[in-house]
Symmetry: C2
Subunit: 297 residues, 2 copies
DNA sequence: CTCTCTTTTACTCAACCTGAGCAAAAGCGA
DNA sequence: TCGCTTTTGCTCAGGTTGAGTAAAAGAGAG
């Protein structure tokens, strides 16, 4: 009845600087990996264990932390060294305000990993290639066609920023994206889409992005990524960076002020145009509102 | 670096019959428990492992399955027998259409576990007691007061069906609800709210209910709980049962038909009044829509 | 010192969605 | 045939959303 397994905690540690969302990675054979650590016998909770080793390893004190998913697929998680045993990974999303340089670790642009997700400057060019290669995989399979259409917003179907995982899974299923260096040895067939990572870590990164985008609609989490004081343009910039789309500025600020998410500090910052007011997050809302999000699907 | 732990898979298996949502429990010292099983070395994925042991143990083939959360608090999960080691539980929500009688297991009304959650017949009476006892715990702590107010919809604040876990955590923090038989030995102070369960399983049940209620807003999961053919009233009944609130009938059916969630079978069922059309779930929508939910917050 | 550029901010308006209610339709049993 | 119940269709006011026009406020060029 009792089943023992190797359990590790993996973290997608995210920061947004210069309107670029970045994930912390460490080098590993098989490609860049998410930092991971293990539970200690004395850690009272999983989350505290996570915070502990993140601080130990990087010196970073993470702010917001959220459990994402627990992975344990044999195919993706088997320890090659140890034929039978399974590795179980509890994945977390962690948000921090700045991306301090890390010796031995690299901040990777999230959209280097998932280049088809950034639509801030129009539909990215990769999507043409993806559509074509997916078309080949689809054939005359009606269900595949529909899945591709919905996930990637083909043929006039709207693009849904939240469906990150759908898209990743589809690409993986179609063999357009690889996990671990070992998959798809016949790589010549078209070049790699985005940068792969070790293990199934790119999938974890995709899960994290989707979750974060979704959360943005109903919880004020962006503030965990911003400095204490910020202009509305900065706020919008971070939201757009995560969402991978642009928002209508006037409506965005209407939303923010209606929701009462921020307090005016009275001060201003100069920005090259009309100086912008500086705001501060109103802590109160954390408790108050059911769902003060910053965009609607 | 490698940390071995005992990993188990726990399931909140849910069915709705006669507009009553029920959870399958097994008897255990410490109270009723959610059924749980363990991974096998050969199970390709965690979800398949879950399905396997559910079928082995109960004969049930579950339909919809969703991972909820991974629990591993030392305080709540320590194996008393084995001082140090930690038990890690990966909890799942599983939906099935009927609640077949189970030898050695019991279907418990979800609202026996969480009686304050059912508002279909007006605000339940327990809430008076809860408000009073929470008031005592609150004292003049402003933050506690606000948390209680928001979570339980006190003083005119609206009741949010989704905040199940908030409410449970608050009650737990205030000592009004117990986990495991051991907690709160001075139980005379006011009687127990709802029925407790073994381990932290009532918390898992609360997590499951909250997640399910939330999911209802943006994914057509109810159909996993309904017979293949149903009337709109039955559909509404199940949604209301899960939500613990009543809905405006005319608007509910407007929503359902606008979303194109169902197909008319042409047949009708007699119901004591005007006969109702029988509908069937339109499989297509599973792929199509970004978010066809059945209520809005 | 004035003009132009950029960014921030204020306001407007049509289209749509939501919550609530009125009322008719269709069987059933007295 | 009448009254009861449930199902179904429709309306309407109020609010929200998406999109646009335009003014305000500094910075820098000339």
């Amino acid at each position: 009845m009792a089943y023992m397994a190797e359990v590790s905690l993996e973290a997608a540690i995210v920061a947004v600087t210069d309107d670029t969302p970045r994930v912390l990675t460490v080098d590993q054979e098989g490609g860049p990996a998410l930092p991971s650590g293990s539970l200690g016998d004395r850690d009272p909770t999983l989350e505290l264990a996570l915070r502990r080793w993140i601080t130990d390893q990087t010196g970073i004190e993470v702010g917001y932390v959220e459990q994402l998913y627990t992975f344990g697929d044999l195919a993706r998680h088997r320890l090659d060294s140890d034929g039978g045993r399974r590795r179980i990974g509890v994945a977390y999303l962690a948000l921090i305000r700045e991306a301090p340089p890390q010796p031995g670790a690299t901040w990777v642009d999230w959209y280097r990993l998932l280049p088809w997700e950034d639509h801030r400057h129009g539909r990215p060019a990769v999507l043409e290639e993806i559509a074509a290669r997916l078309g080949a995989w689809t054939g005359r399979d009606e269900e595949r066609r529909e899945r591709a259409q919905i996930s990637f917003g083909l043929d006039g179907t709207p693009w849904d920023p939240v469906r990150v995982l759908d898209r990743y899974e589809l690409l993986y299923g179609a063999g357009l994206v690889r996990e671990r260096a070992l998959d798809h040895p016949d790589e010549r067939s078209g070049g790699e889409l985005g940068r792969h990572m070790a293990w199934d870590h790119r999938r974890v990164a995709a899960t994290a992005l989707g979750r974060l985008r979704g959360k943005l609609t109903y919880r004020p989490v962006v503030f965990e990524l911003l400095a204490r004081e910020f202009t509305l343009a900065q706020l919008q910039g971070v939201v757009e960076a995560l969402l991978g789309t642009t928002l209508h500025t006037q409506n965005f600020r209407r939303l923010v002020s209606q929701q009462g998410l921020v307090d005016d500090t009275g001060r201003t910052a100069s920005t090259g145009g009309r100086p912008a007011r500086l705001y501060r997050f109103r802590r109160g809302v954390l408790l108050e509102r059911a769902g003060p999000g910053l965009w609607r699907r």
